[in-house]
């Protein structure tokens, strides 16, 4: 259930009138006569909407509005101001202070109720309007009888006596169904249904048309208008109810989605005239048609007002003090959002120049001030109709554009997904190919090497007396080469495996890892004496298996290149480089010429001859790949005969571009 509505007006007639109508529309109302009462009510409870008279005996409605806007608990309350149209300033002040609507007195009660329902509903979108049935019939007795029957059946009923009133209500009540008499004063029942079908927000509402018994072509007319069902009015109300329920059942399945504000809502007209008497006359004429009227006495006032309150049509006096009607019109039409709002210029009769001037300034129509009231009313209605059509077709266009956009987006998303799937598939295939290539390298290249080595050894053992020293030496070379090639194959495989395997980060103590590998190196080469110094607290988020490969290579190199040092020293630690932690392995060995440092990390790149230091030229390339797969950087510093230092970073989190598997 939505929150009640607060009505504050010192006039008993206004108060009671509004309360009755709002209650009839299914809302609960608290009515107050003074500002004090209103404050008490506001302190006591919450309201979905406050309708405030601007002029109260003990308070100013706008002050009350300020208080409401300043209260946290009332932040959600919508506010509608009611005022006798005295000053444009009041209206501007009210809207600027945060009023959601400002309606001038005298007002059309249907309009106020419709707006009230909309404002209250805006804050309670699930308000029980879905079960509301809109009943339009000009016969009070029949209306009441059918209303009672429908209410007995559990429906909430909003009743209207004319098609115009019914459409105004439909815009805000958002009925679940409409029951409309075929014959009405003003626009008839089929027209009402056509208009409902024409409105984006209402077109799915099921409509039942009531027809007179004697009408021959009633069925045809009803179907033509788009009625979902029709029933003869002279039937018993129970029959009408049964027919109504059947219609709801068949329509129930296809309830449409919520669409923006209805186009059939009550219209607001701005009248701008310099002369007070003319303004009164124009306002009265427009009000008589059920429009809400805002007044302005000059072009400046009109522009000021339009900045805070959009209207549906503007009646503009051509000759006014200040900037005048023509300039006002020009300025209006310069404002993008105002361009679509129809402007009807009011000018002197029979003055062809005035007409041309008005149209030249961008006015949509021109009427002589001397025209009959009916002419004015008809022209306003025509302009509003035109605006309605334009808005409707704009809505259509926007919806179509939206649909096209969505379709295009769906197509694009599909294409992207397809391309991506193809790429992933290709990558997987390439990886698979690489995998099987690496596998056959591992297997098929090693097997012959084993034969070469094995049978060379067999020759050395079994035929040693048939070989001289040189022959034996040659066989030694054969074996050495075979073993070297086996090592090369193993290193290449390791390098390719690193590219393919996934980086699995965990917290690693790099210091402990370095010590472990250091002691392994010591065991392998017990004659060497190397002082290994490892700093404390070397932890990183990295892949343990891959970091083992890194330290095996870096420490292995350090061991190798310090071979000729009397006091070999290898240091493992961390330094800060460009704000990042850089781990390093430093030795005091053979070092290298910085001029060649760029070649250090290339596959098969060696800075030392095999005679000086053995090696395959793959180790540092492997290390670089591991670091890159972690999103890190590796670089080296060195000097010939004064040692080398290798630095690398291991940024936390997801790796850089190397995180994706690539060849």
């Amino acid at each position: 259930m939505s929150l009640p509505i607060l009505v504050v007006d010192d006039s008993l007639t206004v108060r009671m009138g509004l309360a009755e109508m709002l209650e009839a529309a299914g809302l609960s109302v608290t009515a107050c006569a003074t500002g004090a009462e209103a404050r008490a009510a506001l302190a006591d409870g919450q309201f979905s909407l406050a309708i405030l008279d601007v002029l109260l005996p003990d308070a100013d409605g706008i002050e009350l509005l300020k208080e409401i806007r300043g209260t946290a608990s009332a932040a959600e309350t919508a506010v509608m101001l009611l005022s006798t149209e005295a000053e444009v300033r009041d209206r501007v002040r009210g809207l600027r202070t945060g009023a959601d609507e400002y309606i001038g007195k005298p007002y059309d009660p249907n309009h106020v109720v419709a707006r009230a329902l909309e404002l209250a509903g805006r804050l309670a979108p699930s308000a029980p309007t879905t079960e509301t049935v809109l009943l339009i019939d000009d016969s009070a007795t029949f209306r009441e009888a059918l209303k009672a029957t429908l209410e007995e059946a559990g429906y909430h009923v909003a009743a209207a006596a004319s098609g115009e009133e019914g459409l105004g209500l439909a815009a805000f009540v958002r009925p679940a169904a409409v029951v409309v008499d075929g014959v009405l004063p003003g626009i008839d029942g089929p027209t009402v249904i056509r208009r409902i079908r024409f409105d984006a927000a209402l077109r799915r509402v099921p409509c039942l048309l009531l027809t007179a018994s004697e009408e021959e072509d009633a069925e045809l007319r009803a179907l033509e208008a788009g009625a979902d069902a029709f029933v003869r009015k002279d039937h018993d109300t129970a029959v009408i109810l049964a027919k109504f329920k059947a219609m709801l059942r068949s329509a129930g399945a296809q309830a449409g989605g919520e669409i923006a504000q209805s186009l059939l809502g009550p219209k607001k007209i701005l009248a701008v005239e310099g002369s007070e008497s003319h303004l009164e006359r124009t306002a009265a004429a427009v009000r008589a048609c059920g429009y809400d009227v805002a007044l302005a006495r000059s072009g400046e006032e009109a522009l000021e007002l339009l900045a805070v309150q959009p209207v549906d049509c503007i009646l503009l006096d051509a000759r006014m003090p200040g900037i005048g009607g023509l300039e006002t019109c020009r300025r209006l039409k310069d404002i993008p959002v105002m361009r679509e709002t129809p402007v009807i210029m009011l000018g002197d009769a029979g003055d062809a120049d005035s007409l041309l001037e008005a149209l030249g300034a961008g006015a949509d129509d021109f009427i002589s001030k001397a025209s009959e009231v009916e002419v004015l009313q008809a022209r306003v209605a025509a302009q509003l109709r035109r605006k309605l059509f334009e808005e409707e077709s704009r809505l259509h266009r926007a919806q179509q554009l939206q649909r096209e956009l969505e379709a295009a987006e769906t197509r694009a998303a599909k294409e992207i997904a397809e391309v991506r799937a193809a790429l992933v598939e290709e990558l997987e295939m390439k990886n698979k190919e690489l995998d099987s290539f690496a596998y056959s390298v591992a297997h098929d290249l090693r097997a012959p090497l084993r034969s070469i080595d094995g049978f060379s050894q067999a020759l050395l053992e079994d035929y040693t007396e048939k070989l001289d020293d040189q022959g034996r030496q040659y066989l030694g070379y054969v074996r050495e080469s075979a073993q070297q090639m086996a090592e090369l194959i193993d290193n290449l495989l390791s390098l390719s495996r690193i590219t393919r395997s996934e980086v699995q980060r965990e917290s690693i103590d790099l210091g402990a890892l370095a010590r472990k590998i250091g002691s392994r190196l010591e065991q392998r080469d017990p004659d060497r004496k190397v002082a290994l110094v490892v700093a404390d607290g070397l932890t990183a988020q990295a892949d343990g298996h891959l970091m083992t490969i890194v330290f095996e290579n870096l420490l292995g190199n350090a061991w190798k290149f310090t071979r000729d040092r009397a006091e070999a020293r290898v240091e493992v630690g961390a330094a800060t480089s460009e704000g990042q932690t850089a781990f390093f392995v430093r030795d005091n060995g053979a070092g290298f010429d910085m001029a060649y440092s760029s070649k250090l990390f290339g596959v098969f790149q060696r800075l030392h001859s095999a005679k000086e230091f053995e090696g395959t030229g793959i180790g540092l390339a492997t290390v670089q790949r591991v670091i890159r797969r972690h999103g890190g950087r590796i670089w080296a510093e060195g000097e010939v005969d004064r040692g080398a230092a290798f630095f690398f970073t291991l940024p936390n989190g997801a790796g850089g571009p190397g995180a994706l598997a690539h060849g």
Partner: protein, 146 residues
């Protein structure tokens, strides 16, 4: 049967010769039966000899993985699913040290996985140790071979 037979399953004649040489070098003088592919191995293990009887089961099987017709993993899977050969010690002796081969080998119930070193001295060492361990040190489960 006191004779402890070794079944060597190896398709490469050069590797076969090297393995036999390594066994000899390691003073492992047990009878070695050579199957030249997986099919021959299965035939030996499950087929009947000329006398119509099942053949004596080996004490140790040295199994290569990559072979034509029936590969080593298939031989292993068939052995492990047969009651008679389920508990026979199988040592995978192969060139490949790829993760997936090792994983598949152990999953299918290999008792050991040894990569053949290129260096023949190391190879001889490995084969000798294997023979010593599985034929001398290791005590097999009861009732194997029958």
């Amino acid at each position: 049967m006191d004779e402890k037979i070794i079944l060597l399953v190896e398709d490469n004649p050069k590797d076969e010769a090297l393995t036999l040489r390594a066994l000899k070098k390691g003073n492992i003088l047990n009878e070695v039966i050579v199957a030249h592919d997986g099919a021959e191995a299965l035939d030996y293990l499950f087929g009947r000899g000329e006398d119509g009887n099942l053949r004596a089961l080996p004490q140790l099987i040295l199994l290569d993985l990559k072979m034509p017709k029936v590969d080593g993993l298939e031989v292993l899977a068939k052995m492990r699913s047969n009651e008679r050969t389920r508990l026979l010690p199988v040592v995978i002796l192969t060139t490949s040290a790829e993760d997936r081969d090792r994983l598949d080998g152990y999953r299918l119930g290999a008792n050991s996985y040894v990569r053949k070193p290129v260096d023949f001295v190391q190879f001889t060492e490995a084969v000798t140790q294997l023979g010593l361990y599985w034929l001398v040190l290791n005590i097999p489960p009861p009732n194997t071979g029958r």
